[in-house]
Symmetry: C2
Subunit: 343 residues, 2 copies
């Protein structure tokens, strides 16, 4: 297990498992009316409330900023925000469990955990699924498995994904070859913010393409195997990068630190790039970050809707740039151990 | 006088007066032989040594790096370096007085002082001129004044110049109009490193165009008047700049500080740009520099030949970039008062 830890360390950011479910007697959300679909929300919320502290977010009540902030935290999808009739999200206080109601399917159950942790995420969401399945009659076919709005989700209805930080294989241009190779393994990899070698912040998500014909356990094992191969390529590329151009890499990392702790305004794209250099620097031992997860959360917190929420009012783009610079400088001054910077 | 100080403060970097002289009985350097011209060196050195501590630099003895280092410090010219036959420089230990022998003229006497100080520079070099004129027979015509190799230097043989730091009128694109206006006043202004709006480090030199038909005192008064007008334009443009875009200006200055104190390598062009932002920031009160002259000297010290001399060996361009970054980070960490940075 320590080998696995070494491989995924500073590469695997978070793990997510989601299950798509639909309810017998209800038409799929895309065709059904809002009034009828809204009936689903209450029983889901009631059942979840029995096992923990959950908050209910109705898309019709949420202004767009609050809903987009949840999306930026990867708790709901853009599609759910569009459904201002019957769309709802029921989210645990620790934000690890999120159940979307009336997105593409009636119910989408998700567990999102930090680090490389797919099995734990599956176990958590499986428990949620058990509880909901006792109250609600899920549409299930003996041959096809769980019935879903889109055929790609048929079967287990499961999507297992891991978010990966891949700066080195992006910078050395091997990412596109890896995207192709992963595709042939029945997996898909895409940029979380932008595609391919333009993935902002070098953040990617690997997930299974097909959910039919394999058990949940097999899917997880396959995604894990793919993730480990990508992590190995990334770790090797990082070592190579530092060996090939130690001054260049240190320069990139320490300049990022210098800019982020001193700038007065910064746009989202530059922020994403420079924070990635800081994370890479930490991974390469060029600087020490007291809490890596706080840094990863900062990336969500610096997205436009989260900034607007934190500021308590609508900000112009240039006001957001100033706010972002200020938050970032304060946080990095706390997070980065200055003594760890060896020029 | 305090008004003048306020105007020239953080704009006028240094003041220089130079006198061109030639000796009766010797052909101008461009046509004479090295052996004959070399006779001039010793008496000049002997006379100067009577009034202070001077070092003699023979261009034939100097390897190109040492000579170029003197040029980077504005103590000798590129033309002198070319004259490896009879070229020589006699420079005071405090580097305020430099006498070039066998450049374009037999003798070029220069005094270079910090700040806005033309009269003092003139008085110093006039004393040197008096002493040399007693020993050497200077070529002088009652109508034309001092005879010089190039007719533009006839008359007083004097060039009075002030080095100015003009970031604001360069950035707001009024520099070219000012260059034109100054030309009509019989003055000339040019970039110290590069021309016009491409002047590296925003450093310019203002000087008289003509040395005939005016007294030394009139020339100095005219250059001073022109300098004060330019300083006023620059100070106004700085105020305007900070008023128009306070966040943008602070961002530019503090990023420069963040990069210069953290980078691992930096090329000459970027260094010149960022050091200029630091100087501008100090002028605008955005940060405090303990010793402005040390910062101005850093610009000379970071030129290629000075770096090579300090390192004690030939460095590749990328080695120089690393050396420059290291020196700069160390010095700025000492020079800039961190508490003065108010985000």
């Amino acid at each position: 297990m320590s080998d696995v830890n070494a491989l995924v360390n500073n590469v695997a950011v978070s793990s997510r498992v989601r299950l798509a479910r639909n309810i017998n007697g209800y038409t799929f959300p895309v065709k059904a009316g809002a009034e009828r679909l809204s009936e689903i929300i209450k029983p889901v919320y009631n059942e979840l409330s029995k096992i923990g502290n959950f908050k209910l977010y109705l898309m019709k009540d949420k202004n767009s900023v609050e809903a987009h902030a949840l999306k930026e935290e990867h708790l709901i999808s853009a599609d759910l925000i569009q459904n201002t009739g019957s769309g709802a999200a029921i989210i645990s206080d620790d934000k690890t469990i999120s159940v979307m109601v009336n997105e593409e399917d009636h119910i989408r159950e998700q567990c999102l955990l930090k680090g490389f942790n797919l099995m734990a995420a599956y176990n958590n969401i499986d428990r949620v699924d058990d509880i909901l399945s006792k109250k609600l009659s899920f549409a299930f076919d003996k041959e096809l498995g769980y019935l879903t709005s889109c055929p790609t989700n048929l079967g287990t209805g499961m999507r297992a994904s891991v978010m990966l930080f891949l700066p080195a294989i992006t910078m050395n241009n091997s990412i596109n070859a890896i995207i192709n190779a992963v595709g042939k393994m029945g997996m898909t990899i895409r940029g979380v913010y932008g595609e391919g070698s333009n993935a902002e912040g070098y953040m990617y998500q690997v997930s299974n393409q097909v959910s039919l014909g394999q058990s949940e356990f097999d899917i997880i094992r396959n995604v894990e195997g793919t993730v480990l191969k990508i992590c190995e390529a990334e770790q090797n590329a990082r070592k190579q990068m530092l060996e090939n151009d130690p001054y260049g890499v240190k320069d990139m990392v320490y300049r990022a630190y210098g800019i982020l702790t001193n700038c007065i305004k910064i746009n989202s794209a530059e922020f994403m790039k420079l924070i990635a250099y800081i994370k890479l620097g930490a991974a390469l031992g060029l600087l020490k970050i007291n809490d890596e997860h706080v840094l990863n959360e900062l990336i969500n917190k610096m997205q436009p809707a989260n900034i607007t929420l934190a500021a308590g009012r609508n900000l112009s783009a240039s006001e957001r740039d100033i706010y972002r610079a200020d938050c970032c400088a304060k946080l990095l001054n706390e997070l980065v151990d200055k003594k760890s910077i060896k020029r």
